[in-house]
């Protein structure tokens, strides 16, 4: 398991150093600095030197690092590092050099609690916050007075939720967020189109509520190959779904129902993938030519293919230009287009785009003459967007039922969003 945990800044200075096992020394951090931080060409998140392995995740301006001396589970180490980042966010907003320095004592305190001998222990933020807080007096009091409540919470079967949560108004917000992955070839063929979905929930519910959640899905897991039954039109095929720790997996396995006692506040209830019948929100037609060695001409035609009643926000089309571009003239009917020399992109921004709307960009890039013989590799055009109240997979929330022994009424809200951030790519 994890022998040591470090946080470094970009200069390679140690911001946090905690050894969990006696099989290595603090000086091991020098090795990481030399091998990874000072190395301009790091090609793996895992580096193994002899028996020692370094696992790192870069976030903002720090490196979060786990070191092992055994045949550790790589998945576990990374999941732990991700979790540490999540916890840090929950405690002090953002994980960066400044916040680490501002909270180093708190971080040590947290580490002592969530790792023992390198084995991750309870890492549920809600429970941790019961006795480790940024105000030491409060933690002091909690530990002194509620200790047995804390220990039962931290080791029990619903370690993610306290029992004494109270709200005057009981509300639950469900956000269905879909990231659309699309790759289109030069000739307009869709090479891949799939959706990574995420269902986020913000539960502000009193007591210990038991929730049941329903979607218009049918899981294709079992039925592949032998198609049985008629295909109902509004059911969405999910290739796979993964659930938060709180969801009873046994129940899901037996009757496909999603039931759980939610943590208090925000959490990711489930993730899913869908690959069939994806509604692509945008179509792009490209015509890019290189009439001479010093010029590239673009005509990019963008069409919003979702319902006219819906809107997309912050549509950004990034159109690559050759490295030796000196100047770009771009004309657009809608939005604004600008050449960003540092990134070699023409960035076309459309703040709001209604469904079925179409718009066009025409541009000319002037190139400097070079001796460089290598032809331009034409990275794909990228479309970033978020379309509200639209799911590319067609997924809908059917119901969310909340049962609590006090029998209170609760209000539920559902929102849908489909977005892309670098994952919607068109080759040209």
């Amino acid at each position: 398991m994890i022998s040591a945990f470090f946080i470094f800044n970009q200069k390679g200075e140690v911001l946090i150093s905690r050894l969990f096992r006696t099989d290595l020394k603090r000086s091991i951090s020098d090795v990481f600095r030399i091998q990874v931080i000072s190395n301009p060409d790091v090609r793996s998140p895992i580096i193994t030197l002899g028996s020692t392995s370094f696992f790192h995740v870069r976030i903002n301006n720090v490196y979060v690092v786990g070191v092992t001396k055994c045949n550790a589970s790589a998945a576990l180490v990374f999941e732990f590092l991700y979790r540490f980042i999540q916890i840090s966010r929950a405690y002090f907003g953002k994980l960066d050099e400044e916040s680490v320095k501002n909270n180093f004592v708190l971080i040590y305190e947290l580490l002592d609690e969530i790792l023992d001998f390198g084995y991750p222990q309870n890492s549920e933020i809600d429970t941790l916050k019961m006795y480790i807080t940024t105000e030491s007096i409060k933690s002091e009091l909690a530990v002194r007075e509620d200790s047995s409540k804390i220990t039962i919470q931290a080791t029990g079967a619903t370690s993610w939720r306290r029992s004494d949560v109270k709200y005057r108004k009981n509300e639950a917000f469900v956000d269905v967020i879909e990231t659309v992955n699309m790759l289109m070839s030069k000739d307009g063929a869709v090479l891949r189109a799939d959706v990574d979905g995420q269902i986020l929930m913000r539960a502000y519910l009193s007591g210990t509520p038991d929730c049941k959640f329903g979607l218009n899905d049918k899981l294709v897991l079992q039925k592949r190959g032998a198609d049985q039954g008629p295909k109902s039109d509004d059911a969405v095929e999910l290739d796979d779904c993964q659930f938060h720790q709180c969801v009873r997996l046994g129940k899901f396995d037996s009757d496909r129902s999603i039931s759980f006692i939610p943590p208090d506040g925000e959490f990711e209830l489930m993730r899913y993938r869908s690959t069939t019948n994806i509604n692509l929100p945008f179509r792009l037609q490209t015509h890019v030519t290189e009439p001479t060695k010093s010029r590239v001409e673009y005509t990019i035609h963008l069409r919003a293919s979702y319902d006219p009643k819906l809107n997309a926000n912050n549509v950004v089309v990034k159109i690559p230009t050759p490295l030796n571009t000196t100047n770009v003239q771009a004309k657009v009917g809608v939005g604004k287009a600008k050449y960003v020399p540092g990134d070699n992109f023409i960035v076309w921004k459309i703040p709001k785009l209604q469904g079925s709307q179409e718009c066009t960009l025409t541009a000319e890039a002037e190139l400097a003459t070079t001796t460089h013989r290598q032809p331009w590799s034409r990275p794909p055009i990228q479309v970033d967007f978020s379309v509200v109240m639209f799911t590319a997979s067609g997924l809908l929330v059917r119901f969310l039922k909340v049962f609590e022994k006090s029998g209170y009424q609760s209000v539920k809200w559902v929102r849908y969003l489909s977005k892309a951030n670098g994952s919607y790519q068109i080759r040209f």
Binding site: V14, G50, S73, F92, K101, S123, L191, D196, L249, S423
Partner: protein
């Protein structure tokens, strides 16, 4: 909470003064004491040696303020080992904390003490730990369970553990009613059994069943520890394996990728003990989607997932066989993800999808990253060899790519085209002309050697082959051995094809190889040719110009027995490097697929046991009839005899995986060259650098570096 201003280097004396002066009556709420301690912790972090403050820190132990206590304990864990004499002063404080009425404090004290493996401390911990393992509070019990594993990692501690019988107490905790306690007890037992030579964890069906029942209530980490321990359960019947696999497979839906991969590890393990094809197939189908879902995770986890998928699909090709598209690279994937995806794409390509994959690879070959481009080009060539119906298309793609004149693309293409010639003799020689246009671009040994091989092999068809070789020989002395060897052989071939053309060149090269070269291989080969040519030219002709056995892609598939062994490490470092951990981690013990009456015929046939490989892994040539596995080295135990009789029984079970993808069955060894190919790829030149197909595979670096720290 702006502690950043405390995060500055200070001098030990100043910090000591600050610590001593604080904490009196005027220091309300110990604010100044806390500040001083924080500065000390900061300096400790920065690597500033604070160990001389030890006595002052021990003084602070008396202050009953939790925040202070935690900082002092952190300090003691850090410097305790360096100050064995002074640490004794802390024992009193520790012991009183072990008896605190607050479980969090009791846990803290036991956790801290067990992290300081010094004789005094270990001795003092004996009683509190025994109590801790039976404490009424689950927090203390779960902390104590891990503490036993901690003690076991040091010599003194190990003696104490053995003397006090803590391991038996841990075993009792497996029946604890608190899920976290069970999980930690399991992880402690697994750790101890990994370290120990005489204790090893063995679970029977009942205990395994109880552990699985606890899974539902465990934290995600606890689930991982319990799932991991299930490898210590050896199914005694097919039913055992089937039931367990069925019960744990629900974990495949968990959001934590480590839970998913550990579940997959256990399922793959159990499949070795399952017989029912439909159940195996169903389990395989369940594993596919969660594996693909790993690709929606952070890039680090994606990487772990991809490396594992590559192993899994070699052993269980039915999983993911229709999923090649999800492994297409995104332009903005990190390079390590892209390289790992390419390898999987190659494996999943079949007749039906080869055009799609080729179009993708062609696209990648124009990208910027040199390694990625090379690997893409190489993959095109490998596909030509793997899928004969696509070879025309592949060759055409390679020729088009060579027109870019990008040096590394051209060289990579030449290397693979050489292999394509080997695979399809007399089909593509018409492209030699195009290859020869690019001679000037060659500056890498592998590409040069490949081109020289081509010139030698087709010396009779290439008009100016003698001139070309002569040009190459110009720099003979400076070339690396790989190229020199290729030149030597090619010149001999030229001589045998066109004696007059090589009249001058041959003696020159032979002389260079035998008289001037330092490399013994080169010298030996030179002498060998020389004698062969002088003593019996006809024989030389037969030997040198014989028909080459065609190569195939069989050679880069790993043996099933090796895969079964590697898959016991699914999700771990071993699965990243595709190596058994004991080959690169000093303390790691080798793992073997345990024998049991339930082991199915296929897994048994390939099984690698501690005594060595199964017979078939030695790859007898196809002409030799199959020998039943004979475990003669095993002392006559009932188990061994049983396995012999089972293995010898001719085909009692239906043939494995009928009608699946796995057409390349192991018995299909019509490839006598396979072995050699393997060696060639494996050893490459100088540890594989610049050599075969595996060169860019991630690997742990040399064990000699271990000595550094």
């Amino acid at each position: 909470m702006a502690d950043a201003k405390l995060f500055t280097r200070g001098r030990t004396e100043e910090l000591r003064d600050e610590l001593r002066q604080s904490g009196d009556r005027r220091d309300k709420g110990f604010l100044r004491k806390k500040t001083a301690l924080k500065k000390i912790v900061a300096n400790m972090t920065m690597g500033n040696d604070m160990s001389s403050l030890f006595p002052d820190m021990i003084q602070c132990m008396q202050i009953q303020v939790l925040e202070i206590k935690k900082m002092v304990y952190l300090y003691l864990v850090n410097y305790g080992r360096a100050r064995p004499e002074q640490v004794q002063g802390a024992i009193g404080g520790f012991l009183s904390d072990c008896n605190d009425r607050n479980p969090l404090i009791r846990g803290l004290a036991i956790r801290t003490m067990s992290s300081i493996p010094l004789p005094h401390i270990v001795q003092a911990l004996a009683d509190p730990l025994r109590h801790g393992l039976q404490d009424q509070d689950p927090y203390v019990r779960k902390t104590s369970a891990i503490a036993v594993a901690k003690l076991y990692s040091s010599d003194h501690g190990r003696r104490l553990v053995e003397h006090e019988g803590y391991v038996a107490m841990l075993r009792d905790l497996l029946a604890d009613h608190n899920p976290t306690v069970v999980a930690n007890a399991v992880s402690a037992l697994v750790e101890i059994s990994d370290r120990s030579t005489d204790i090893s964890l063995r679970l029977n069906a009942t205990v395994a069943g109880k552990l699985v029942a606890a899974l539902g209530e465990c934290s995600e980490w606890g689930q991982i520890y319990i799932l991991d321990s299930l490898l210590s359960f050896v199914p005694q019947s097919h039913m055992d394996a089937e039931q367990l696999a069925e019960r744990i497979s629900v974990r495949l839906q968990h959001a934590n990728s480590a839970v998913v991969l550990t579940t997959i590890k256990v399922c793959l393990y159990l499949m070795n003990y399952m017989e029912d094809e439909t159940l195996i197939r169903a389990l395989e189908r369940k594993m596919g989607p969660p594996l693909v879902t790993l690709l929606s995770s952070g890039s680090e986890v994606q990487y772990v997932g991809l490396r594992n998928i590559l192993l899994i699909i070699q052993r269980r090709p039915a999983i993911l066989q229709n999923e090649v598209k999800v492994f297409f690279c995104k332009y903005n994937d990190p390079i390590y993800v892209k390289l790992a995806k390419l390898e999987i794409m190659y494996r999943l390509t079949r007749d039906e999808n080869v055009s799609e994959v080729l179009a993708e690879l062609k696209e990648y070959a124009t990208e910027v990253d040199v390694d990625f481009v090379r690997k893409a080009v190489r993959s095109i060539g490998r596909l030509a060899i793997k899928i004969s119906s696509a070879s025309d298309q592949c060759i055409q793609t390679l020729l088009n790519l060579m027109q870019t004149k990008i040096s590394y693309v051209v060289q990579e293409a030449i290397v693979v085209i050489k292999d394509i010639f080997r695979r399809y003799p007399n089909q593509y020689e018409s492209v030699i002309g195009t290859l020869c246009e690019n001679l000037d671009a060659l500056d890498e040994p592998e590409a040069k050697a490949a081109m020289i091989w081509i010139v030698g092999q087709y010396a009779d068809r290439i008009e100016n082959s003698d001139e070309l070789l002569e040009d190459f020989c110009f720099s003979f002395r400076e070339e690396p051995p790989e190229v020199q060897l290729a030149l030597l052989t090619a010149t001999v071939k030229l001589f045998l094809h066109r004696p007059t053309a090589a009249q001058e060149l041959l003696p020159k090269v032979l002389k260079l190889a035998t008289e001037e070269a330092d490399n013994p291989d080169l010298r030996d080969r030179g002498f060998m040719y020389w004698r062969l040519l002088t003593s019996n030219p006809t024989a030389a002709r037969e030997v040198v110009l014989c028909d080459k056995p065609p190569i195939s892609t069989e050679t880069d598939r790993m043996d099933k027995g090796m895969l079964d062994q590697l898959l016991l490490h699914t999700g771990t470092l071993g699965s990243i490097y595709h190596k058994n951990p004991n080959t690169f981690i000093r303390t790691a013990k080798p793992k073997y697929l345990p024998d049991s009456p339930a082991l199915n015929a296929s897994s048994r046939r390939h099984r690698i046991s501690p005594q060595g490989m199964g017979v078939s892994t030695l790859r007898p040539s196809s002409s030799v009839p199959k020998i039943p596995q004979r475990q003669s080295t095993v002392p006559a135990s009932p188990q061994a005899t049983r396995s012999v009789s089972q293995a010898a029984a001719p085909d009692v079970s239906p043939p494995e995986r009928k009608g699946t993808m796995d057409t390349e069955d192991d018995d299909n060894l019509a490839d006598p060259y396979g072995q050699l190919g393997d060696l060639e790829f494996g050893s490459g030149s100088g540890g594989g650098m610049g050599g075969g197909y595996e060169t860019d595979a991630p690997r742990p670096r040399g064990a000699e570096e271990d000595l550094l720290f």
